[in-house]
């Protein structure tokens, strides 16, 4: 069999599953329930995950005339993205309104978006990169506006769409300049030509433009302004996806562009990322301190986490890439988890959006309360959770790369961040005031699907915190594949 097709097997499976969902959705009568489509979407994602693991047996290499690559690096991210998507699907199954006849579109868009993200991690041809980025972005633009009958839903979608297309435009200009400067859009060829180029002016300009596009997607300062509004307006299951999977894909692209395409310009992009990392951490944490809305707070915290992650880029190639990949995995596990818990507590329609509304959750639902506290602990970065090792590797990579000051800024920021995480944790653990209506609030029901999702995220966070070795080794393999 032609290995070309095997090398895009996960993406193919996701697309086919998405099309199946679309077709079944269109064939059902207009008012019928569409929740059952999860039985296509979830197995499809699992199959894609399995297909990614199958690819381990292939020799690393490219397919379709050097457009797509399979290597431990792509497989690491494929598995990560498929895992996130699976959890997000399970979360959506139990929390989206049951009578909504747009659920088919939801599942289809998630699957199409996932295929774009997977392709983005595997693409070694800049035009394929652009197309993959667009596939994933356009799906997420629509998903962000899923609650279209609320005021904030369309606002989120429009903001994300306009700013996102603008940022993608920068990326495309960067690609065009790369092509102009080197005469190729294939990353290996560009790397080869850039290494021997005499004049780096256009390549540097192209790199700057591409960085704008990519850093927007990972919501790093100063391209972070869309994050809080979009996270607030989009439904929480979507945010669980939005804050992790596209970011993982975009970080994969960033690693590829910096370490594989233009490693020789390290002296140039390293200080730049140093500043962006420091700014993201500081801006994210300081702004999060003042937030009353839980989702906005978590949005700013995700900006800060992008900063911690970027600190790893200050590290030398092998350590830096491995640390970044590990951090993405750890961050995904705990962030999807915390959004799952927040969805359950504040409800799909978000009748309890504020930090103050979370008071006494621990007494209403001990399980959810303790899970929330657990994920907050991980986000702070206390040992025995994934968050700890993520930060540990990231900062030690930074120190290894000579960016001691950046590591110190990161540590200080972690201290600041602890303040608002602890504030939320304390609120959750406070006794509900007597006579308050909150005591009468219903206890959120945890369905089977969402239970599985929670189990999965808690398990992953704990596993990464107690026995990070296997994932770290996978991340190191990925790092080797990229060099």
């Amino acid at each position: 069999m032609n290995t070309d097709l095997l090398r895009i097997l996960p993406e193919t499976i996701l697309v086919v599953a998405g099309i199946l969902v679309m077709l079944i959705d269109a064939s059902l009568p207009p008012r019928a329930q569409r929740r059952g489509l999860i039985w296509v979407a979830a197995p499809g994602t699992m199959l894609a995950l399995w297909a990614s693991l199958i690819q381990l047996r292939l020799d690393p290499g490219t397919a379709f005339f050097g457009a797509v690559e399979t290597s431990p690096f792509t497989i690491f991210f494929h598995v990560l993205i498929c895992g996130i998507v699976l959890v997000a699907l399970l979360l959506a199954y139990d929390t989206l309104p049951r009578d909504s006849h747009h659920q088919g579109e939801f599942y289809a868009l998630v699957l199409f978006g996932a295929s774009g993200m997977c392709l983005l991690t595997g693409a070694v041809e800049l035009l394929v990169v652009f197309i993959a980025l667009e596939i994933s972005s356009i799906s997420t633009y629509i998903l962000a506006g899923y609650r279209k009958h609320t005021g904030k839903g369309p606002e989120a979608a429009i903001k994300y769409f306009l700013l996102g297309s603008f940022a993608t435009g920068f990326l495309l200009y960067g690609i065009a300049l790369i092509f102009g400067a080197t005469g190729s859009t294939q990353i290996y060829e560009v790397a080869h030509k850039a290494a021997s180029a005499q004049n780096h002016t256009f390549i540097v300009l192209a790199l700057m433009l591409m960085l704008v596009g990519i850093l927007f997607k990972v919501s790093a300062a100063p391209f972070h302004v869309w994050t809080p509004d979009v996270y607030e307006g989009a439904p929480s299951p979507v945010v669980a996806l939005l804050s992790t999977a596209p970011k993982a894909a975009a970080f994969a692209l960033l690693l590829r562009v910096l370490y594989q395409m233009l490693p020789d310009l390290r002296s140039l992009w390293m200080p730049l990322l140093w500043v962006i990392a420091a700014a993201s951490m500081t801006i994210g944490n300081l702004a999060a301190l003042r937030q009353q809305n839980v989702k906005r707070m978590l949005a700013y915290s995700s900006i800060a986490h992008a900063g911690y992650l970027l600190a790893a880029f200050a590290g030398l190639a092998d350590k830096g890439i491995a640390a970044a990949a590990f951090y993405i995995a750890a961050y995904a596990a705990m962030n999807v988890g915390i959004f799952a818990v927040v969805t359950l507590i504040s409800g799909y329609d978000e009748h309890l959006p504020l930090v103050a509304d979370f008071r006494g959750v621990l007494y209403r639902s001990p399980l959810l309360g303790s899970l929330l506290i657990f994920f907050l602990i991980s986000l702070i970065g206390i040992p025995f959770t994934g968050g700890f090792f993520g930060k540990f590797y990231s900062f030690s990579a930074a120190v290894g790369g000579g960016a001691v000051v950046l590591a110190i800024i990161g540590l200080l920021n972690s201290g600041v961040a602890a303040a608002y995480y602890v504030r939320l944790a304390v609120t959750v653990a406070q006794k509900p005031e007597n006579g308050m209506s909150q005591a009468a609030l219903p206890v959120p029901q945890i369905g089977v699907a969402v239970g599985a999702a929670l189990l999965f995220t808690v398990g992953a966070t704990l596993w990464l915190g107690i026995a990070p070795e296997p994932i770290l080794r996978a991340a190191e393999n990925a790092a080797h594949a990229l060099q």
């Binding site: 099309i19 679309m22 077709l23 269109a26 064939s27 207009p30 006849h101 747009h102």
Partner: protein, 135 residues
Amino acid sequence: MNPIPYHWQYLPLLIQIVVAFGLGTSMILGSRFVGRHRNSKTKLAAYECGVEAVGDARGRFSVRYYMVAMLFILFDVEAVFMMPWAVIYRKLPEITGSRFFGFWEMIVYLGFVAVGIFYIVRKGILDWSLDKADL
């Protein structure tokens, strides 16, 4: 006589464009100067079958027109991709060494187009008489 270079062929096309638009412009300008002008307020009002016009035509209209416009963009781009394929189709067996290469490539592509058509039809985007679609 030297053979005429290919790119010169665009020159007559350009001349035709200039002549065509020039003709339209001169006809409209010409009649403006030739015809007589005897205007009145009623004569210059918007025509609504002899009744005085109510409001103007800057109101809202059916969103379906936007949907059709968007679908057109989608499908027209898809149609455009087919043109280069069609031009090279008969040479593909020589280039790729496989008789059905071009055929299967396009079947996959057209499959996506067909799924799109099926979806919009079933979702009621094209039902102008029913209000099945949740627009």
